[in-house]
Each structure stands twice: as structure tokens, then as C-alpha cells.
């Protein structure tokens, strides 16, 4: 039997590689976006702190803006963005 592929459609799935399933601030899954965004993905990325805790960027930025001291809302260590 001879099969000729005439066309094909590629399908891929993606996941953020995070050490948790949910953002600790909004509690939405990391595979979905923060409550202020519509689509998950590059528009609503995740960020990691030097402490290794991970959040939606919009969630952590909103929290840091509301605080006099920049601390991780999970462990209270000083928050530094970990650019990995």
C-alpha cells in the first residue's frame, strides 16, 4: 500500500515549567492567565524570584507596587527577579 501525505496540521501543547501548578497570588493555574488577562502565553508570562517562587508577572508586579518593601509574598525574602 502506498500512502501519499497530501497535507498535515501540526499540533503542539505547551506548559510553563514551574515548581507549582497555581499562581499563589491569584490561584489561577499557571497554564491559564492572571485574572486581568484574556489569553495565556507570552502576554501573561510567569516570573521567578531569586527565592525560586513563581507568579504571573502581572500578579507579582501589582503586589510589589502595593508594598513599601519588595518581598516575596510566599516566603517574605527580598524579591529579586531571577532572569533565567
Amino acid at each position: 500500500m502506498k500512502v501519499t501525505v497530501k497535507s498535515w496540521t501540526g499540533v503542539a501543547t505547551w506548559r510553563w515549567v514551574a515548581n507549582d501548578d497555581n499562581c499563589g497570588i491569584c490561584r489561577m493555574p499557571f497554564d491559564s492567565c492572571c485574572p486581568d488577562c484574556k489569553l495565556p502565553g507570552d502576554d501573561c508570562p510567569l516570573v521567578w524570584g531569586a527565592c525560586s517562587h513563581c507568579f504571573h508577572i502581572h500578579c507579582i508586579v501589582k503586589w510589589l507596587h502595593s508594598q513599601p518593601q519588595q518581598q516575596c509574598p510566599m516566603c517574605r525574602q527580598d524579591w529579586k527577579f531571577n532572569n533565567k
Binding site: G24, I25, C26, R27, M28, C34, P35, D36, C59, K62, W63, S66, Q71, P73, M74, R76
Partner: protein, 246 residues
């Protein structure tokens, strides 16, 4: 129970979107987050929640009935108001029950670190429930809101316990008929329905205990005395004049 709420909400949302032709109103971030908190709520057996409006998850009540410690046998109602900035700001929590407690004042303000300076958005309603429950097991005399109660807890635990018990008896069920103190907050009106209660004498004793405990737990004796003139009995609307003799 809570799951029912979200199902109900979902159904409502669907109906709403069907009617509005797909343009349903998006739940706010605070609503989304509180729904998750409540779905994952794991209450200790001494606690329960009440939703005066089942469609409004942002305003609800938590009832704590401690089964050990100074406050054993009491029933304390807390109101939770979840603001639009939740979880970036903690819910506003007030104690609606009159209580003699170092960390709760007569207006119902609660001194609990995670409701103030130590709040962080990864905390949940569950964390607050456990914090409040702990407050009844281990009242904290450092950093008090009711200084008299705090001093007494440190200097004379037996007297403290007596005052706690008295405040609880007065504030709630005494001789199995509740002695209403519905709005201690607003203008400290206590309605002792002497006329309707079977045993007027016992009611009066309970009432006196209650008033005394209010005074004992009050920071401001004068204010309490003035308000006391507004105490009246619902049965015959008679103002209690001999209050000062109690």
C-alpha cells in the same frame, strides 16, 4: 455546600450569557479568587460559615464556637468583607459578638497580624480562620486592643477567666433564653425582654452580669455609663434607672 454555590453561580452565568447573547459580565479578580478560597475551605469542626446573600461571596460570616480554652462554650460571629483588591489587600474582618478579649475591642476590631502588617496574597480565607481560632485558644496580651483585658490576663488569670465567662453569659444564651444584645456596636442597646421571659428575676440577674461585664471590659467607663441610660426593656419600654446601683 460551597461547591453548590459555584455551581449555582455557573448556572446563573450561563443563563445570563444566554440572555445577553454571550456577552456575560466577567467575574472580578477578587470574585474569582474568593471563589477558589471558599471551594478549598477546610474548616475546623469548631467553625462554620454563613452567607446572608448566597450570590454574594464577598460578604459572609464566620462563626467560631471554641471547644477549649477560656472561650469554650462561646459562639463568636465574625463578618468578612472582601474588597475589590483582594488578595492584594486582606479582607476586612470584624467581630460582631461582644467579647472580653485582649485582641478584640468593643467595636469588634480584631488585632491579628495576618489581617494587618503580615498579610500577603498567598494567604487565604483558611489562614484567617485558623488565625482567628488560635486567638481564642491563645489570647495574646502583647500588643492588645483591650488593654484592661490584656493586663488582667497577665496579672490575674482567674479573674480574667471570670470576666470572659460573664461576658459570654451576658452576650449570649443565659438561662437558655438568649438575652438579646443585637447592636452593641451602634449605640449599645440591650433589649432584655423581661416581660416575655418566664423568670424575670433570673433575667434581671443575667442582665446585670452582662452590663457589669460590659463595664469591666470597657476602656471607657463614662461612655458605657451614658449608653446605659438607653438600655431598656422591650416588654414595657421602661428605662432602667437604677443602673448605677447594679
Amino acid at each position: 455546600m460551597i461547591k453548590l454555590f459555584s455551581l449555582k453561580q455557573q448556572k446563573k452565568d450561563e443563563e445570563g450569557s444566554a440572555r445577553a447573547g454571550g456577552s456575560q459580565k466577567k467575574a472580578s479578580a477578587a470574585q474569582l479568587r474568593i471563589t477558589k478560597d471558599l471551594n478549598e475551605l477546610n474548616l475546623p469542626k469548631t467553625c462554620s460559615t454563613e452567607f446572608p446573600d448566597p450570590d454574594d461571596l464577598l460578604n459572609f460570616k464566620l462563626i467560631i464556637c471554641p471547644d477549649e480554652g477560656f472561650y469554650r462554650g462561646g459562639r463568636f460571629v465574625f463578618s468578612f468583607k472582601v474588597g475589590p483588591n483582594y488578595p492584594h489587600e486582606p479582607p476586612k474582618v470584624k467581630c460582631e459578638t461582644a467579647v472580653y478579649h485582649p485582641n478584640i475591642d468593643l467595636e469588634g476590631n480584631v488585632c491579628l497580624n495576618i489581617l494587618r502588617e503580615d498579610w500577603k496574597p498567598v494567604l487565604t480565607v483558611n489562614s484567617i480562620v485558623y488565625g482567628l481560632q488560635y486567638l481564642f485558644l491563645e489570647p495574646n496580651p502583647e500588643d492588645p486592643l483591650n488593654k484592661e483585658a490584656a493586663d488582667e490576663l497577665q496579672s490575674n488569670r482567674r479573674l480574667f477567666e471570670q470576666h470572659v465567662q460573664r461576658a459570654m453569659r451576658g452576650g449570649q444564651s443565659c438561662f437558655d433564653t438568649p438575652l438579646g444584645c443585637e447592636s452593641l456596636r451602634d449605640d449599645i442597646q440591650v433589649r432584655a425582654d423581661i416581660g416575655r421571659q418566664g423568670n424575670a428575676h433570673r433575667t434581671r440577674i443575667a442582665y446585670c452580669c452582662y452590663v457589669r461585664s460590659l463595664i469591666a471590659s470597657s476602656k471607657n467607663y463614662k461612655v458605657m455609663q451614658m449608653s446605659s441610660e438607653r438600655f431598656y426593656t422591650r416588654g414595657n419600654q421602661k428605662t432602667i434607672h437604677n443602673f448605677n446601683k447594679l
